[in-house]
Symmetry: D2
Subunit: 289 residues, 4 copies
């Protein structure tokens, strides 16, 4: 496959680019009081700016080592990480834009694990925790002055055994699926939202969105994943004035009634194959009108 002769190089230029450190796992304990608080975070920081010299001529003069980026993430956390990851993202970006001589913008991507305080004999324990499933994600982007914040929820598995159907859809050459007004609805919620305000109590909003998703999931007959998506968006925008719009990505984790009748056993809609793949994928934004 190697060409026999080396052709003359064509003229090229550097396009959009960024660099930084990824998968930095840091953990902070707030231990001023006997009741400790914790934050368990993965972060990636990516910087954008005029890095042409490094790319084109191998001149690293104005580059921060990504190892330096790592040290900074830990170092600034000591005094600068006091609340939400969203707030810390702004702190990080302000630093990198001012510190890196050629850094014009930066983005911080966070995944925060959720830990629940353990309860012993009905009392919340001071310093022991058990991990919970959904994750708090966040992306903060900016030039050091203005920021765009997107927060999210990831890996929230919900399921209901009834009050969901799929009927009245288009029938054509490749359609074989039968209609139903009683199916299992199961999905893994990936949500993200943008803000109508420059700043707020991000952790409080996250908790409100989380609860609203669960509440909405239970409160209606779902004629489609699309309709449930829209209802969840409407409820969140109603209960969270801080949010301008919200996006959901819903895999439809199909539970297919198993045909045991061919073996002489009547399946009264109780035994299902939980199909891992393929799955329907439904995605969309719900926005303020």
């Amino acid at each position: 496959m190697t060409p026999p002769t080396v052709p003359t190089k064509v003229k090229v230029k550097l396009g959009a680019n960024n660099y930084g450190k990824a998968d930095v796992r840091f953990f902070k304990v707030f231990r001023d009081a006997p009741r400790h608080e914790i934050k368990d975070v993965w972060v990636r920081v990516a910087m954008e700016g005029d890095f042409e010299a490094a790319h084109v001529s191998g001149d690293n003069t104005d580059l921060l080592a990504t190892d330096t980026v790592r040290n900074t993430i830990y170092g600034l956390a000591v005094d600068g990480f006091t609340g939400s990851v969203e707030d810390y993202g702004k702190t990080l970006i302000r630093h990198f834009v001012s510190q890196g001589p050629k850094v014009a913008r930066a983005t911080a991507y966070f995944t925060e694990h959720q830990w629940q305080r353990l309860t012993v004999d009905g009392q919340e324990h001071d310093h022991s925790f058990v991990r919970q499933m959904p994750k708090h994600t966040a992306v903060v982007e900016g030039d050091g002055q203005t920021f765009t914040v997107t927060s999210g929820i990831d890996e929230l598995y919900v399921l209901k055994t009834t009050q969901s159907g799929w009927e009245g859809y288009l029938m054509e050459q490749f359609t074989t699926l039968p209609e139903t007004n009683d199916r299992i609805l199961a999905t893994v919620v990936t949500a993200k939202w943008e803000y109508a305000v420059p700043d707020c109590d991000y952790d409080a909003v996250w908790g409100r969105v989380y609860q609203t998703i669960l509440d909405t999931f239970t409160d209606h007959y779902s004629p489609s994943v699309q309709n449930t998506l829209y209802r969840m968006g409407e409820a969140i925008l109603t209960l969270c004035p801080e949010i301008s719009r919200v996006h959901f990505s819903f895999p439809n984790r199909h539970h297919i009634r198993y045909n045991t009748e061919r073996h002489g056993i009547e399946n009264p809609n109780t035994v299902f194959h939980a199909d891992a793949e393929p799955y329907g994928q439904i995605e969309g934004w719900v926005e303020r009108a």
Copy 2:
């Protein structure tokens, strides 16, 4: 690497062997009452017996197709899966030993996802659930008459921010780790246990073990993962007379205080690197004396 001439075949024989179906995901809804119950299960069934004809001469006469194994797992579940996965394992093994002409023994491996019923306005919802992190595992093995049951817990992440240390260990050429009497202790519990009784309420025992692990995790200063392991075993054997012995596998997920002092920032034991690997691994059985 291919040898130039084909050597004469040596004499060989079939050793221990098994076959069956793996990663069968099945889901059962108990919907007799308005308040639905669910079971969400992965299972693998492996059969042992005299399968020499198939291996040696390609004679499949006495083999069940693994597709048949799958159909059976769903088919029998309709009437035969009414309680724990451990009980259903016995049902499956009885079937395969009697049904497969050459099947002498079988093993069923289960992974059961845990779902928590959703609470809406303080009321438990009838048919909506959110998934929890730890899993219920089980291995049931037997000849159709007698069974060995091993149950377990997987992916239970616990962490405490203090009341753990590591001191007084052996110092030698390759030792560089400093001693500490105040460190973060974090692990992912993988536990399994065997039974002193032929039968019991397996789900109730699972719940009791789960709670005992969490309670014990909080109730002492941990001088080592080994000592905490032993204490958990002791507590479980005390509270669960049904259990004969219990095994734990504990990765020690190190949280390493980050050296920010080299950057002129004092880290008052609050910012840590949550190291993913390598990790200490501590494993052991605790048994009745």
Copy 3:
């Protein structure tokens, strides 16, 4: 966290949205001749259009079931999948835009596994294959008339033990990394490229890009991942006139010389810790000037 009274719903609207089927694994054998050819593909199809009725009022009239999408992917493959996944993507999009009454645009995402024909006694085997590591990815998007094609390479692990360094970078408060002109360079190439032509032999171009990445990786002293990225882009644009621009995402998989001197053992730059995380992440486009 549930608010005590239900607030009046705010006005909302549906934003950008799509739906379809994901993780459809299909496999095609070209068996007209004794020498079989194969294609091993994962695909996701996402459709965009006016799906407001389904979202807002639960009216599914104009929706294709995602199960229908699946059937279509297999059904059209019989006659319509004859060459590259990129070409089949166009076929699929044409179909869904014409078939779904409200479908305006569609996107097909492909991951194609690479299989190498086995060689037996120096002869290529007719129908036996062994899987290779890098994957061929592709995203085809369009309205049924015009298409945007992006092809890519994923999971290509390359490493060189010397002829790489990192020097002359910015030194500041958080910098502790020492400079080096002889380090191990290891990365996992994720590349993608766009086309300057509406159509071409996509598989041939993929092979040429693959070879050019490997060739460029070996042909220079690398002063930074950034510079190697730029050189690879330049070489690809030189050798592939079909390509308009190319993007790389390079994790810098650090290999850190282990300090065995503290144990009295001199490490002559031979033993390294292959650090899994964190890692530097360098990304950028190289474009025609």
Copy 4:
């Protein structure tokens, strides 16, 4: 679930146990000559012995820190890791049994990535490599005097498009699978073998086993996975006198002909659904008679 009163502790004892360090990734370059050689290894070391004091009374006096285990793995590699991982496993075990005051036995588990030297203009490159898919695994166990070595291959994907069938199996109540004498056979080989000799050129044997698996895969019509398993074992024992017995674990990755006839399209056995799960699982040892 917490019991109201604390019961008297029962008598317990420590059973089988071990500890050590896992997921240690180390990398060695042999750079004496311009043509570098590399070894890319994950290792876990687990030690067994009398560790009762640590478990029962929290007395760590005779324990090595797992951090020390890590340092040792890197430190000894400088001079002690000169050939195969199997040989290095013996070196590590000898060290830990002699160094840990209470260590009676130890086990080293290895996963070694395979890297192929790059070829540039038909010449093998001195120091550039591309990673290959199958892995070399090894488990070495012993008391410092005698060792049990098990070597293996992992993640070797093979597939053939014909010359495989499944017929003549047992038909019963739950059987619905149709017979076929022309199916796709695809599996992911996991093999392991034990040795008839105390020592040998482990890397050379690995290469011979690898080649024999591929050769055998192509050289017969497969009436069942079981028969192919047996044939591979026979061929390996014939070509590798160093090996006493060999074990295979074969997932049967089903490729199911897609029924496109219900859409009016004839599928001439060319389009398949590559089903990810469930899968048949066939496992067995082949031994010298």
